[in-house]
Symmetry: C2
Subunit: 407 residues, 2 copies
C-alpha cells in the first residue's frame, strides 16, 4: 500500500475478477474505494475457494482495503442510491468501476445525466455485450489449443484467469488515464473494456496473429518448451523438476561449462552446421537434439550442487513447486514485504498482498482486510451522500440498505 | 488509439514483454513513447515468431506506435545519451520505463541525480534482482502443477506469458499513478515491479494462497472444469468443442430446458439431496454426476441448432477455435474496430491492435506501426536533447548512434 492516489475516491459496483481487481489496485495505491453490493452479496460473494467456515477466500482477497455498502439493487430506491454514489460530487471523485451492463440503471447515459464529467470504466465480456468470461474468451482466441504436451491433443484451459487479471490492470490504467484527461479537458468518459478485445489485442501484440495468418500458421503445442528460444523443464539427479531458461548470450554460454557439455554441444553444432550462440531460434528448432544433452547432464547432478553455480552465473531458473510449498518461499510469500498478515472477514489470519512492488522513496503501509458486507453503509451514506441519521434510519427500516448485520 | 495521455512523453529502454507492453499501452492512449535500443537491436529484436523474411512479428507487435532511437549502449557516450533521454526536461516528461538492472548506468540513483522528479517504472524478475522470466516465476508459484488434465501428472506451462502481460498493465497503471502523485507533491519515484511479486500477489488476491495453506490444500488439477462452479468443455453432435459456463442463476436455470435435461437434473438433486440452483459449489462437487447428463444432451445437438437458443437465453459459451480460425471471427479480429490494417516494418500487412477497448465519447485513431530501428534517431536528438545537426552528425560519425541504415 502506497499513497500515490491519496485523495481520490472511486466507487465500484462489480463482481468476479476483473472489476474488483481494478478497484483493488486503486485501493492499494491509496485511493478510497467504496464498493456497493446487493444486500446479502453479489453473484461472487460465496465463490470458491472457501474457508473452513464457508466464507469466500476469493471475495475477501479481491476486495481488500475497500469500504462496503450494502444496497437492495432490485428496488428503484436502491438503484437511485447506487447512481448517486457513482456520481457523487467532488474534484477527486466521479470515478466509477463496474461490470454492470452497458444498458440499464448504471448505463453511462443515466449516470452522466447526474454528473457529466463522470469517468466510468466498464468491464465487459464480448464487445457486443454478449456474456463472456475468461474461460469462454480464452477458448475462442485459441490459447487452449496450443497449451499442453505435444502427445495429447486435448485442449488445456488455463487455470489462472489471466484475461481477467490483465483486464483489471488495464482498467486501473485506463481509469487513471481518463482522470488525467479530465484534469486537462474537463470531459467525462466511459471506457468500455471487453475481455474479448483485451485477449485479441494481446495475442496480436505478441506477434501471434501475424504468425498464425502470415507465418508458420497455428503454433503447435510444444509442451513446456519455450517457443523460439531455449528453455524447458528438467529433472535433477535428486528428482527435483526445474524450469531452466537460457535467453541471453551470457546465460547460454555460461550454462554449458557448468553442466560439462561444451564439447557435446560443439559437436552437435558442427554436425548440424549451426551456431547456437548466435541464434536462439536454432536452439528451439533443434531442441530434439539439444534437450537430451541437457537432460543427461541434469540427471547427473543434484539441485543443491547446481544452485551455487546457477547463482554465480546468473542462470535463469525456477523450481516447480506447489503453491503450498511456495507459501514458505521467502522470496514469494513468507518474508515478502509486499504481504502483511491480517485477520480477514472469514476470521482466518493469513498474509494479504498490498501493492505488488516497491517504491523505495515512500513508506510502505500494510494492506487492510476486506470489509464485512455493509460495514460502511452508514458512514458512506452520511459522508458521501450527506444523508442525515433520520434518512439513513429510514433506508434501513425500508430495507433499502443494510449494515453488517444484514447477512 | 485515443488521446487520453496526449502531451505526455515517456522514454522506454526495455526488452521482452512486460516493459514494452507498458510502453505500448501508454502509446495507445496518446503518449509520445520514445524507445531506445542498442544499435542492431536489443536481445528481443529477432525473437520468434518471425515473418517469412526473418523479421520479428513479436518485436514489431510490442513496439507499435513508438519512436525509435538506436544508441551504442556499450559505450560511455551512448550510456550518457540514454540517461539524458530518460531525464530530459519538461513538465509532461521525466517518465521512464525500463527493465535494466537496479544497479548500473540506468539506476534510479544515477538518473535522479540528473532529474530529481523522475518517475521511473522498473520491471524486474525476482524482487531481489535475480533473473526471472514469466516461465521460471510461473513454475515457482505452482500454476503449472494445477494446470492440465487430471489423468496426466506432468506440469503444464502456460503458453500465454500472463505474468508478463499483467506486469505490463500494472506498470502502465503505476506510471500514470506516480505522475499523478508527482503532480500533487512534486516528488520523483521509482516503482519496482518484480514479476515474482505480481505473481505472488495475484494468487493471493484470488484467494488461492489461503486455500492452499488454510483450506483444502493445493488445488487438484481439474482439466477444463471451472473450479468451484459449473463450466467445462463439451462436444456437440457435429463434433464442435465448446466451453460452456453457467454461473449466474439465469444461466443455470436457462440451459436445462434448452438441453431437455430438467427432469434428469431434478432426479439427481433428489438422489443427492442437494439444490444446484442455490449453490454453484455443489455443481462442481458433483460434476462427475452432472457432466455426463450435459455431455449426452450436447452430443444429441448440432451447434447451429443450439446457438439461437444460447443467444436468446444469454448463455455464456465460446467455441474452441484455433487462432487462425479466430482471425476470421468478426468479433475478435476481422471487423473489430480495435484493429487497423497496417504495413509493418517486416513489410507484411496485417491487422494491428490499438487501445483494447472503446471510449464512445472520443474519436478512435488508427494504430501506428512500429518504427524501424533508429528511424527517429535524429529527430529525437534534435527535439528532445536539443542537439545541433553538427553534434548529431558527429555522434553518427563516432558510431554512438545510428539511423535506420544501421541494421
Amino acid at each position: 500500500m502506497y499513497d500515490l492516489l491519496k485523495g481520490l475516491r472511486v466507487v465500484e459496483g462489480s463482481a468476479f475478477v476483473a472489476g474488483p481487481t481494478c478497484g483493488l489496485y486503486l485501493a492499494q495505491l491509496g485511493a478510497e474505494v467504496i464498493r456497493f453490493d446487493n444486500i446479502g452479496g453479489g453473484p461472487d460473494f460465496n465463490r470458491w475457494p472457501l474457508s473452513r467456515g464457508g466464507d469466500s477466500f476469493y471475495w475477501e482477497g479481491l476486495n481488500k482495503s475497500k469500504k462496503s455498502i450494502a444496497i437492495d439493487l432490485s428496488r428503484q430506491e436502491g438503484r437511485r442510491l447506487a447512481q448517486e454514489l457513482a456520481t457523487a460530487p467532488g474534484d477527486n471523485a466521479g470515478a466509477f468501476v463496474t461490470n454492470f451492463p452497458v444498458e440499464g440503471f448504471l448505463s453511462y447515459e443515466a449516470l452522466s445525466a447526474l454528473r457529466p464529467d463522470l469517468v466510468c470504466v466498464r468491464v465487459m465480456g464480448w464487445a457486443d455485450g454478449r456474456p463472456g468470461v475468461d474461460y469462454t474468451i480464452n477458448s475462442a482466441v485459441g490459447v487452449p489449443l496450443f497449451t499442453g504436451h505435444a502427445d495429447d491433443p486435448r485442449p488445456v484451459n488455463h487455470i489462472l484467469p489471466a484475461w481477467d487479471l490483465l483486464t483489471g490492470g488495464y482498467a486501473a490504467f485506463s481509469l487513471v488515464s481518463a482522470l488525467m484527461a479530465r484534469g486537462r479537458d474537463g470531459k467525462g468518459r466511459e471506457v468500455r473494456l471487453p475481455l474479448s478485445d483485451i485477449a485479441a489485442a494481446s495475442l496480436a501484440n505478441l506477434g501471434m496473429l501475424a504468425e498464425a495468418t502470415l507465418g508458420e500458421g497455428d503454433r503447435p503445442r510444444v509442451g513446456n518448451d519455450i517457443f523460439g528460444a531455449f528453455g524447458r523443464d528438467f529433472t535433477t539427479a535428486d528428482g527435483v523438476r526445474i524450469m531452466l531458461v537460457a535467453i541471453t548470450p551470457r546465460q547460454w554460454s555460461g550454462i554449458q561449462p557448468l553442466l560439462g557439455i561444451v564439447d557435446e554441444v560443439k559437436a552437435l553444432e558442427a554436425e548440424l552446421g549451426v551456431d547456437f550462440a548466435r541464434d536462439e531460434g536454432l536452439r528451439f528448432t533443434h531442441r530434439d537434439r539439444l534437450v537430451p544433452i541437457f537432460d543427461a547432464a541434469m540427471a547427473r547432478r543434484k539441485l543443491a550442487d547446481l544452485v551455487p553455480a546457477f547463482e554465480q552465473l546468473g542462470v535463469c531458473w525456477g523450481p516447480y513447486q506447489t503453491l503450498s510449498q511456495a507459501a514458505n518461499d521467502p522470496r514469494l510469500f513468507a518474508g515478502n514485504p509486499v504481504f502483511s498478515t491480517l485477520t480477514h472477514p472469514s476470521g482466518e489470519t493469513y498474509p494479504a498482498a498490498g501493492f505488488a512492488g516497491t517504491v523505495p522513496q515512500d513508506e510502505r503501509k500494510p494492506a487492510r482486510p476486506a470489509a464485512r458486507l455493509g460495514q460502511h453503509t452508514d458512514e458512506v451514506l452520511a459522508t458521501v451522500l450527506g444523508l442525515s441519521s433520520a434518512q439513513i434510519g429510514k433506508l434501513h427500516d425500508d430495507g433499502v440498505v443494510a449494515g453488517p448485520e444484514g447477512r
